[in-house]
């Protein structure tokens, strides 16, 4: 390594190669991913979140919620995500194309939030989330700084929290969410991955698939654009992953 410039050039090439391969390579594959137009529903998915939810995502990011909550549901044979009711299908890259700062997260001290508003049988509503943020729970901190407590002037405000027990304010006072709390809750309530993209359908074991209709599988090309409300017939779209 006597040749200094060549050495530095080699270092630079190694860095550039990995950057180009990983970052630019995946960008070439997914960078221009478009929304999926569904003929039957007459609109394309994913839906754009309202502005207040986009602001809420910034609150979510700056408080560091992603340190405990992921937003990615993995496929059924990889982890228990779907068995826990976090979503009916795995998350795909298309889910995130309208998000300015996707919050995939890398750690689960709390449940996944990908499909929080679309959970079955019961998704939390705004009151549940406000109360959790204000009062916390045994395993969730309370973010009281997202709220203000004030004396009730005239009628109680419509956005005042409906609190009971220890968390309730003194008589004649009420707890009002700040704008940050409202946008955060709007964001959480916008998290809904109900629409089923073709690429999100599970890859079914080909041997199990042979039993019902051995000849049916190859000729289903046009079904790709079919509404996905019904469970996918499993045969199509077996490309891609293993």
């Amino acid at each position: 390594m006597r040749n200094g410039p060549l050495f530095l050039l080699g270092l630079f090439a190694a860095l550039t190669l990995s950057w180009a391969g990983i970052v630019l390579g995946s960008n070439a594959q997914l960078g221009s991913l478009a929304p999926y137009y569904d003929d039957a529903e007459g609109q394309s998915f994913p839906l754009r979140a309202p502005g207040i939810a986009n602001r809420g995502q910034l609150v979510y990011a700056d408080l560091g919620c992603a340190a405990c909550h992921t937003q990615q549901v993995r496929r059924p044979d990889f982890g228990s995500d779907q068995a826990r009711g976090w979503g009916d299908r795995q998350s795909v890259a298309r889910d995130y194309i309208f998000q300015s700062r996707p919050q995939l997260g890398a750690s689960r001290f709390g449940p996944d939030l990908t499909n929080l508003a679309g959970r079955k049988p019961s998704a939390p509503d705004a009151d549940d989330l406000m109360n959790l943020l204000y009062a916390g729970s045994e395993r969730h901190p309370a973010y009281k700084f997202l709220f203000t407590e004030r004396a009730i002037a005239g009628e109680p405000a419509s956005i005042a929290l409906k609190l009971t027990g220890n968390a309730a304010p003194d008589a004649g006072r009420e707890v009002i969410p700040t704008e940050r709390a409202q946008s955060l809750v709007a964001y959480l309530l916008s998290l809904n991955n109900g629409y089923d993209y073709p690429e999100a359908r599970p890859i079914v074991n080909p041997e199990a698939e042979k039993k019902p209709a051995p000849a049916a599988a190859p000729a289903t090309e046009k079904k790709e654009n079919a509404p996905a409300a019904t469970p996918a017939p499993a045969a199509q779209k077996a490309e891609g992953k293993k």
Binding site: V23, G64, S80, A93
Partner: protein, 483 residues
């Protein structure tokens, strides 16, 4: 190509030979001691923050009313203070010092180093304030607010000038592995940071590609910046503290170096297994993690003589190298899908991060600092008791931390896989391990406080009566062991 060190001074590090203090050290000591001192202060600060996050994990209501210390923010603060504050400052000092010594001439452009160091620390401080008030980005290891990142880029580039000048103006034709690693780290960090900034901050890529780019950055930060500086120190110190020639050096050292630099960043995708990103990213990462084992094998071959080395520096270096190799093997193991399904999203990830950043990098840095400071000041450390206490506490603390997080992570992984176990139960099962982890953080903090006291005492004693400078030609003679 180079040759291995052929002659090694038998002097143990602890004796801190003032005979070995040369003009190469004395001319650079102002900026280098400033960097080391600020690094140690950040180490203590990050220790306090890490303790807070650790407590918040088992007692979620701890400091919950303080908006600047939500768990997410405190974690980002601790990580930033540790990586950019402690490892960045100390790493710059170590890399520059090694390049000066091995180049055989006093460092040039030291004013740039001082200015860079001042701005670096100003940047880290501003970054922590920014994270506290809610300006952090959501990318692991790059949570620094966007307005601070260019400052750090230029501050590092200013410091690196001295290193690159020492490399290009070296007095010897041959180069040694330490120099490759040190120059690599100094040279690549600004490119790395700017490449990440372009795709994450200034012209962000879409959707989940941000996660891909952020993982590439985090992995490259390790493979191209932190690990190389630590290995530069290891290659320099091992022959000195063991008194032996590095075996298999000529054959393998360069291969080991290029394996890390070329393959290391490709292991980025192992954290994205099962995620909404192209599957080939994770697949390549598995293959790269396994291929990278060759790099760890080379280190074992070259640096195995460190085992049994005496002295404070020697013991830290041996521990650090052990942790480095263990971390590499575990990284490869947890990258496999069958293992990742158990470990993903659990505290195994932070455990491996601690093993890498604390067990490997910091321990090697500690070794280098214990070796460097007496040579920069010309005086031995003021207290051998504090040295011993520091070594004892950080090792004990780290082992407790890793074992508790490892055991906790495994139970958490098993619980997460069982859909019938609710989160209250999962965290309940984890509680004991998290308590142990907090105790470990306390021990680590206490240990690092001892280092801080010892360091600043030594500086005070030295500044009251500085050692005289000597001719730098003698320095060249000292380093002639790398021929």
């Amino acid at each position: 190509m180079t040759t291995a060190p052929t002659h090694v001074s038998p002097a143990p590090a602890a004796r801190a030979a003032s005979a070995e203090v040369t003009a190469i050290d004395t001319t650079a000591r102002g900026p280098l001691l400033f960097l080391l001192g600020s690094g140690i202060v950040w180490l203590v600060v990050s220790g306090v923050l890490a303790l807070i996050t650790s407590i918040q994990l088992h007692s979620p209501h701890f400091l919950e009313d303080c908006s600047c210390l939500t768990f997410g923010r405190a974690q980002a603060l601790a990580q930033t203070a540790f990586v950019y504050g402690w490892l960045g400052n100390a790493g710059a000092a170590i890399a520059l010092w090694l390049l000066g010594r091995l180049g055989g001439a006093p460092l040039r452009a030291l004013n740039w180093v001082l200015v860079g160091a001042l701005f670096w620390n100003a940047g880290v401080t501003a970054g922590l304030v920014g994270i506290g008030v809610g300006d952090m980005t959501s990318f692991s290891l790059l949570q620094l607010p966007r307005y601070v990142q260019p400052l750090l880029l230029f501050a590092w580039a200013a410091m690196a000038i001295a290193g690159v000048l020492a490399w290009s103006g070296r007095h010897r034709d041959h180069t040694f592995a330490s120099q490759w690693y040190a120059v690599g780290a100094l040279f690549l960090f600004p490119w790395l940071l700017s490449a990440a900034q372009v795709v994450l901050i200034w012209a962000p890529v879409r959707g989940t590609l941000q996660a891909v780019a952020a993982n590439w950055f985090a992995q490259s930060l390790w493979s191209l910046w932190l690990a190389p500086i630590a290995l530069a120190a290891a290659y320099y110190l091992v022959p000195k503290v063991s008194g032996r020639v590095l075996p298999s050096y000529r054959l393998f050292a360069a291969l080991g170096f290029w394996t890390l630099i070329v393959i290391g960043p490709w292991t980025a995708g192992r954290h994205l297994i099962g995620g909404p990103v192209p599957a080939w990213i994770a697949t390549i990462a598995v293959a790269a993690s396994v291929a990278l084992l060759f790099h760890y094998l080379v280190l074992v071959l070259n640096l195995r003589v460190a085992v049994g080395a005496g002295g404070t520096a020697g013991k830290f270096v041996t521990f650090g190298l052990g942790a480095y190799v263990l971390g590499g093997v575990l990284d490869a193991l947890t990258s496999f899908r069958g293992v990742a399904v158990e470990t993903q999203f659990t505290v195994i990830d932070p455990a491996l991060e601690q093993l890498a950043l604390y067990g490997a990098i910091s321990m090697l840095f500690f070794g280098a600092i214990y070796f460097m400071v007496p040579r920069l000041t010309g005086r031995a450390w003021t207290s051998s008791g504090l040295t011993l206490g520091h070594r004892f506490l950080v090792k004990i603390g780290l082992v407790i931390l890793l074992v508790s997080l490892g055991v906790g992570g495994w139970t958490q992984g098993v619980d997460l896989l069982n859909a019938k176990t609710g989160f209250a139960d999962i965290l309940g099962h984890l509680n004991l391990c998290l308590l142990a982890a907090s105790a470990a953080q306390l021990v680590l903090l206490a240990g690092n406080l001892l280092l801080a006291v010892n360091f600043f005492q030594s500086i005070c004693v030295w500044s009251a009566a500085p050692a005289p400078a000597e001719n730098y030609l003698e320095a060249a003679a000292v380093e002639a062991r790398v021929s």
